[in-house]
């Protein structure tokens, strides 16, 4: 199983409600590879509940990840009240695994929307048997834009161009392609035509 799927599977088994967010989450909405960014970080929004958060951390640790908040390692076992404060204050933590350089970010808050709002608007895709709970594309792109970083703006503008190219094609080309199809059906296109 691919590393990112391992963690998603672990979250499902721990019954932690979570959403794929960030650029890696947006990837799942892509039509083709021209909209898929390869990123070293996978971002998750976890229900802002201390029990869910502890379960997510446990899952990461069992998979060999080291937990941090910012640059500080998170004490193991966690300090009393730590999960409660992270969830309450909407802070983010990370898990890093040296052997495959996997970086996972666990968020507990998301630009101006509650978890329930995001959860109710999610789309469930799948990778084989694995369910992928992905935040709405619009929510993800809005949040990336609000980060106000050049890399995130480039991702949003690339998405905008990709959607535009897909949804607003040259209308005359449809006519031209239809004409071509009709000529094929009529046997007018081919080696001997």
């Amino acid at each position: 199983m691919r590393p990112q799927y391992e963690f998603i599977d672990a979250l499902h088994r721990a019954e932690v409600r979570h959403l794929l967010v960030g650029a890696a989450g947006a990837n799942y909405w892509a039509f083709d590879g021209s909209q898929v960014f390869s990123l070293p970080v996978h971002e998750f929004l976890v229900e802002p509940d201390p029990i869910a958060l502890r379960a997510a951390w446990d899952a990461l640790q069992q998979l060999g990840y080291t937990l941090r908040e910012g640059t500080e390692r998170i004490a193991d076992p966690h300090a009393p009240g730590f999960a409660e404060s992270v969830a309450h204050e909407g802070r983010s933590t990370t898990g890093y695994r040296m052997r495959d350089r996997m970086l996972v970010e666990i968020h507990t808050a998301f630009a101006g929307l509650t978890f329930e709002e995001l959860w109710n608007a999610r789309r469930t895709f799948r990778a084989g048997e694995l369910a992928l709970e992905v935040a709405r594309l619009g929510h993800i792109l809005d949040e990336l834009w609000q980060r106000d970083r050049s890399g995130d703006h480039l991702i949003v503008s690339t998405w905008s161009q990709g959607m535009h190219d897909m949804l607003e094609p040259d209308p005359e080309m449809s006519v031209i392609l239809a004409e071509h199809r009709a000529r094929i059906r009529a046997g007018l296109v081919g080696k001997d035509s």
């Binding site: 990837n27 021209s34 350089r101 792109l141 004409e179």
Partner: protein
């Protein structure tokens, strides 16, 4: 049968993509979310398969690695005597001196002359290499002939080649304000796993991005200005001949 119109003889001039926060952007997002490829339950396993994980350290960007389908494509283009130039970010990466200088690209752009016969050969090469062809979001049905190639050239329409396990490859007939022959004369080359690849000069690639006026290109240039200036300085004046 649909009829060709006078308009279809003119090059297509697409409107710019909308900026984030505009009503048009929002509409695009909503339409995209409602698209058939985003129906709940769709298998998205391909998304992970297409990503190449950078092997070295802590990359801020992960570049596209050469893939077997891409290799086959370049071989077929060479065998088909197709005239093309690699442009776009994929072209920038071919100018990079080190792996660390390579930038993430989501597709590969090949610039072709306004020559229907050459375009037809390019399509045949793509299909021979196992890629499928699309234009304007629709499959380009086989077989092809000079007539459909001529129509595509008249509209300056983009053809996209897709193959499993490779990033899409765009066959474009437009490179900003540049004429193919001018860029061709200044071209350089690249060798990808023993295959010769014709490559536009970096200065032309960057100038085309600057002239394109798309937000995505503006953001790309702003984000990577320092690296591009360094590579442009290394490239120097157009005195090398392929």
């Amino acid at each position: 049968m649909p009829r060709m119109t006078a308009e279809s003889r003119q090059p297509w001039k697409p409107l710019p993509a909308p900026e984030h926060g505009t009503a048009k952007f929002q509409l695009h997002v909503e339409r995209f979310e409602a698209s058939p490829w985003n129906v709940a339950g769709t298998d998205k396993g391909w998304v992970e398969r297409i990503q190449e994980v950078h092997a070295s350290g802590w990359p801020r960007v992960v570049r596209e690695a050469p893939t077997e389908p891409r290799q086959r494509l370049f071989e077929a283009l060479g065998e088909g005597k197709v005239r093309y130039l690699v442009i776009g970010v994929g072209g920038v990466n071919m100018h990079a001196a080190t792996e660390g200088q390579k930038l993430q690209t989501l597709d590969l752009d090949l610039f072709l002359p306004l020559d229907p016969a050459n375009l037809e050969r390019a399509w045949e090469a793509c299909e021979h290499a196992g890629w499928t062809l699309w234009s304007s979001g629709e499959p380009l049905d086989q077989p092809h002939d000079l007539l459909i190639a001529s129509r595509v050239v008249e509209r300056r329409a983009l053809t996209t080649a897709r193959a499993e396990g490779a990033l899409p490859t765009d066959l474009t007939l437009v490179m900003g304000p540049f004429d193919f022959e001018d860029v061709w004369l200044r071209r350089t080359w690249y060798r990808e796993a023993y295959t010769h690849v014709d490559l536009a000069r970096l200065a032309d690639i960057v100038a085309a991005k600057e002239a394109a006026g798309r937000i995505k290109d503006h953001d790309f240039l702003a984000k990577n200005r320092t690296l591009l200036d360094h590579l442009l300085h290394q490239e120097g004046p157009p005195d090398r001949k392929p």
